[in-house]
């Protein structure tokens, strides 16, 4: 058996470690790049710790996004959900403390996910389009839930806004994600549906139910992201006019990292490390003196490059 292991090549032998090594090398490379260019404002251990804490918020969202993107679906309403769930959580926290806060955010998130999935299945509209409409609706609902004012989280309840609370919560989310992907059937089924929906259905998998479940799980994680966001930022303001769209895309980048490294079996670490890399890039540019507006440019360019490099549809396949 040992001989056979040796003959299987680098990726075969190390499998998951191979993927991890690539990610860490990438992180190291970007870090080194910016560190060399601006040794003083960037890259001290404190800074890194800070970048890490802000990146894990997005990583949690990325975990949620993963459930639907794997199946080939999309959802523009994630940002609006973060806002709405956070506001609901804060409002409930006034009466019921931490219990209200957590239950409000997470349950509201999951409920919205259920609505998304349900409408998607019943109306038979592409997920992209139905989520645009829902984004508009959730933003308005958030506005009403907030009663028109900025919702500030009571300082006494901000344990998830800084270490170790935020790290512990995020870690729990990552463990939950790993558990779901590895030890439940939905983990297998979302991959099956994403690979070949027709075959999956033929193997007796109820595709509609699994998609609905995927939406609920996605938004459950979005609820957790809401807890982290509002704890970190201490308050949440309702946005209208589709201002929530902005919150959709940083998590999406982590999801793409997760998808790319999925074959090594390290989806969750890939998401976390990926978001950390993005945080390094953002802050690296800021340390170089670029304005914060550079963030968007970097997001756009990075996302485009990642997708261009990883997308490998068959020749002649129809891409709209």
């Amino acid at each position: 058996m040992n001989n056979q292991k040796q003959t299987r090549g680098l990726a075969g032998i190390f499998g998951r470690y191979y993927g991890l090594v690539i990610l860490l090398l990438l992180a190291g490379a970007f870090y080194a790049f910016f560190k060399v260019l601006s040794p003083d404002n960037f890259g001290s251990l404190d800074n890194l710790y800070f970048y890490f804490q802000s990146s894990i918020i997005y990583s949690v969202g990325a975990c949620g996004f993963y459930f639907i993107v794997v199946m080939g679906l999309f959802d523009f309403s994630i940002g609006a959900n973060v806002i709405l769930s956070a506001i609901v959580g804060v409002v409930l926290s006034r009466e019921y403390g931490y219990l209200g806060f957590l239950a409000g955010c997470i349950l509201c998130g999951a409920l919205l996910g259920f609505i998304n999935g349900f409408l998607y299945i019943k109306l038979r509209i592409p997920s992209m389009i139905v989520s645009v409409g829902l984004m508009l609706i959730y933003e308005s609902l958030a506005y009403y839930a907030a009663g028109g004012t900025k919702q500030i989280l009571d300082p006494a309840l901000r344990v998830f806004g800084s270490a170790p609370g935020n790290i512990l919560l995020a870690l729990s989310a990552f463990l939950l994600m790993h558990f779901l992907i590895t030890y439940t059937r939905i983990g297998t089924y979302i991959n099956a549906i994403g690979s070949n929906e027709y075959v999956a259905k033929n193997m007796g998998i109820n595709v509609d139910t699994q998609k609905l479940l995927g939406f609920v799980l996605c938004h459950l994680f979005v609820g957790i992201m809401a807890v982290l966001s509002v704890s970190y930022g201490t308050s949440m303001t309702a946005a209208t006019g589709m201002g929530s769209m902005v919150r959709n895309f940083t998590p999406l980048m982590g999801t793409f990292f997760g998808l790319t490294f999925r074959r090594y079996g390290i989806a969750v670490p890939a998401i976390v490390i990926g978001e950390f890399i993005i945080a390094i890039i953002f802050n690296g540019f800021v340390a170089l003196g670029a304005p914060t507006t550079i963030q968007n440019i970097v997001t756009g360019a990075a996302l485009l490059s990642i997708v261009a490099l990883t997308a490998r549809p068959m020749k002649g396949a129809v891409v709209k």
Partner: protein, 319 residues
Amino acid sequence: MTAQDSTVQMKQSQWGQRLKAVYPLLGLIFIVSAFAVLTKGQILTPRSIRLILSQVYPLLIASAGVFLVMTIGSLDFSQGSLLGLASIVVSALSFYSVPLAILGGILTGLAVGLLNGFFHVRFRIPSFIVTICTMYLFRGFCAYLTTNAPVSAIPTITAFNQDWIKLCFAGGVLAVVFLVFHFSKLGVFLKSLGAGETATRFSGVRTDWVKILVFAAAGAITGIAAFINVIKVGSITSTAGNQFETQILIALVLGGMPISGGAKSRFFAVPIGTLISLILNNGLVMIGLDTAMQQLVKGLIFLAVVALTIDRKALQTIK
């Protein structure tokens, strides 16, 4: 089923098709009547009509361009950032000469459109992903260029803010798009592409080039809309054009444009959809709804209209 029965059935469904084409117009009439009643006739006063018409031009022009993109079944989410960037270019160049400014706007739009088309075709990335990325990219540029202050155009440019000028531009663009769509072979190709890309390619149409052309055209057309935008507002902030692409999407959908494009794409979705969208926006304001409620209503109507107009047979697997 006898041959006669099937012919009768076929003729009936053709009438059904013709009826479906009229729905958007009926929708427009319905919404005008509904708001006429709800606002107690206020929406029909000359003042409010003029108000609505003053908002119509950039949306109308840009929608004509995106209409072409949606006909082939693609989406363009970069329109807003494009509008912002092109507006900045127009403003900056307006100090040299106005025609140059207009040209600059168009070329900016063209360049962004080509970028979109290139990445979509060359790397086979779905258009919505490419255009979301470019939206981000160029939104960042806009923000960067307006970091210290909004970019102002030459103050005299607002002299161009006359209805007849705007009408000429809008009318011109609509006329050109209409003529191209109905009377050039490109129009036939676009509808075919949207309805069946592989078969269209096997019929000798160079589908890759057509796609790049369509994105470039949509970009260039929005460059014209940028000029209209500048002459109205005079200076551009970092949020210029924010969410413009979603406004366009909603307008076209309300006008009866199928999401997947194809043969059922009708040009009249552009003017009718724009009008419905604007009347809806202004009507909701007039009724006295606050911004959040307006948005809620719009979201619900959008979902309802899409659910009713979507051509489920054309979408083979719905993702």
